[in-house]
Subunit: 430 residues, 2 copies
């Protein structure tokens, strides 16, 4: 039986999960794919903490990267330490050493994916990364293989479990953002410093990967317009719910001629849209292709075993491909028709806008007048009744309007003395 | 550049769709996978009907199967004629001739899959069949690759677009089964003779394939308990909707120790379940694995281009794998822990039951008495008010009850002289 040797970099939660799966499923995988997958080295800075898997520590565990990177026996290096430094150097060196790479490192792939894939192509090795987007959901495979002959038109992703949990919790329990976040932290769904998740940065990383895969368009994540969920109020979820919409943090990629829209922001989608039903920490990626039409992939977006499931699938996939010489990464070398990123000011969308206005006659006329002058037409208005309040929320849905017009109109409206506090606007999709 | 030659059997709707995709995407695929895919022969009985693709008819189109099967040039045979005869013989002969096979033939794979895969293994060739279940949805790939290290616990599939369209239409427009079916026919979503679709047979075929893939358990589709949607009344959809459930035709596979439940029947699922939102002709497959947890795959379940998308993905996948010698089918050779099919009488489920009873005192006591004697406990009862009607519907939800008990109780109740017409029962899942 053919044998493939794996070296693991990072013996943390996911890393030890991978070890567990490889141990427990070794014979199943031997039967299914006819390949014996052996874990020969594990690198971690910390070799003393007890993990819940049994390994031959003396033989396998090491604090020296070289024991993995320069080990002639090792065919596949699995990188699970995350972050840019030192993961980037480790992966590049592994590739130069002729080793295939499996990683779940979305930050690194978003930042340096194209360079990594290009080096892999030159060195004739594979880089697989199913765990980087959507945890256990086989979305990378779907885009690379199942949908290979499609022209992808649109991707909507709920790709950050923390944000989705917070928004779902706010909606279900009618609680504030802060309360929902506290609950997420208590349950282990949010990190101590959740800025990357709730600020949309993590979603932007994943969107950069999806953009490369789906559209052949590579861009640094910091070029992607990114807005988090920090400013969302419970009332916005409630009001938009009354209008038939659900509020989600969406990562959006949309082809438009030779341009692509890439953006991450809180988004209203019709309650009938399948994405609206994706609650809690779950992730889902909605993909529209010219041949398949609409499709959706749903599952746990993170976690030890979902991610380990994807990592092991990648190991198996490389084990199956490597002897064919087709491992050299090509998938991203295709000449995309997409040439550039559309500026956020150039997009147009329907909007939900909430103004906080003083409750007196003529207010609506003033707001509507400014909107009109900025070519924004109003689809519906509701003034929310609040007993004896001096300041009342006015909720508007607009027809499609240019982003730059909306920004200019809101700036002008927020300067009116009848307006208290910054107006809230949320884009609508679907 | 490496080249792979394809012979196509069947130049109908999907077949000509595949030709179109291969032509239009040839250069994209060359870039993405570095392989030149050439269509060298197309077999069809009918070589005169005009199709909407341009081919060199004289050189490529043939009425002789031998021109494909015994053509030394051809590496992959794509079978798209459907049905058992002559598709089975064609595929088996192609395999014996050392050709890889791509097919979307669910009826054949359900009937003879294991035999086909075993012969393929012996002959060292691949058989791919992404188009056989869920049209363009890459569910086969997900189960074979993405979820390879998972123990699959449960699959729920909405895998028949016609039935799902009819049920969705009945629910949305509050119309009868017959009216909804008529509308499906008019829109081309139902065949003239829709028995295979609405009777659940097509779903049972797909379930047999999912069972083999997900659980390594092979069984003939006629051993699968199958109940169609023909007897569903609009009122059942309405009443169950009031109770918070959606009605779907589900294909269910559930592991239980060394047994497996395989069944196709109308099923109530909670409205909060993602499957409840799958409307119209769409398909979705919900898979629970021990590592990934819950996952769902959604898309168009049939149609020319969704299916062609899957067929071309299979061709590409074989083109990538064949030089590695790992094409020999193994995926189904794993020793499953599942040993036998659970008899339908042995399952247990919650039930929705609708009785049509004469509206007089004591009726409910009689029904409840019989249910009690059969160990069926009632979760809720509603007597639907109908003005001046002598016969009224009584709707009950039961707690979990054994299938055989429910059958016996209903038989006894339906014999009561206070009952008019056969009682309706629908199983509940999720």
């Amino acid at each position: 039986m053919e044998r493939i040797n794996v070296g693991l970099i990072g013996f943390g939660t996911v890393g030890s999960g991978v070890v567990k799966v490889l141990q427990e499923r070794n014979s199943l995988l031997r039967e299914k794919v006819g390949i014996d997958i052996r874990l020969v080295k594990i690198y971690d800075k910390d070799v003393s903490t007890k993990r819940d898997v049994r390994i031959n520590k003396r033989k396998i565990l090491t604090r020296s990267l070289g024991d993995v990177l320069y080990n002639q026996e090792i065919d596949i290096v699995v990188e699970l330490i995350g972050g840019i430094t030192p993961a980037k150097d480790i992966i590049l060196e592994a590739i130069r050493q002729g080793k295939h790479v499996v990683t779940a490192n979305k930050a690194l792939l978003a930042q340096a994916g194209r360079m990594i894939f290009e080096l892999a192509r030159q060195c004739g090795v594979c880089v697989e990364f199913e765990g980087s987007v959507g945890g256990g959901i086989p979305i990378i495979r779907a885009l690379k293989e199942g949908l290979i002959s499609n022209r992808i038109e649109l991707i909507y992703g709920i790709v950050n479990g923390t944000s989705n949990f917070v928004l779902s919790k706010m909606a279900e329990e009618k609680i504030s953002f802060q309360e929902a976040l506290k609950s997420a932290k208590r349950l282990g769904y949010a990190e101590k410093n959740p800025a990357l998740d709730i600020g949309g940065i993590d979603s932007a990383h994943k969107l950069a990967i999806l953009s490369l895969l789906g559209f052949g368009f590579s861009t640094k994540p910091d070029t992607i317009y990114t807005e988090g969920i920090e400013r969302i109020e419970e009332s916005d979820i409630r009001y938009s719910g009354e209008l038939g919409y659900a509020l989600k943090l969406l990562a959006i990629a949309k082809a438009d001629g030779d341009q692509i829209e890439l953006r991450v922001h809180p988004t209203l989608i019709p309650e009938s849209h399948l994405l609206a039903g994706v609650g809690g920490v779950f992730n889902a990626i909605y993909v529209k292709g010219d041949l398949i039409g609409e499709s959706l992939y749903y599952g746990e977006g993170a976690g030890r075993f979902p991610t380990a499931s994807s990592v092991v699938a990648d190991i198996v996939s490389i084990a199956q491909k490597r002897s064919s010489g087709i491992c050299a990464e090509r998938s991203f070398a295709f000449s995309s028709s997409i040439k550039r990123l559309k500026a956020i000011g150039d997009i147009s969308a329907r909007h939900y806008i909430r103004f906080s206005a003083i409750d007196k006659p003529g207010v609506l006329a003033k707001i509507a007048g400014i909107l009109g002058r900025h070519r924004i037409s109003i689809a519906s208005v509701t003034q929310k009744q609040q007993r004896r309040a001096k300041v009342v929320p006015i909720v508007m849905m607009t027809h499609k309007a240019d982003e730059s017009d909306v920004a200019a109109a809101l700036a002008a409206i927020d300067k009116l003395n009848i307006i208290r506090g910054r107006s809230i606007r949320i884009r609508v999709e679907g």
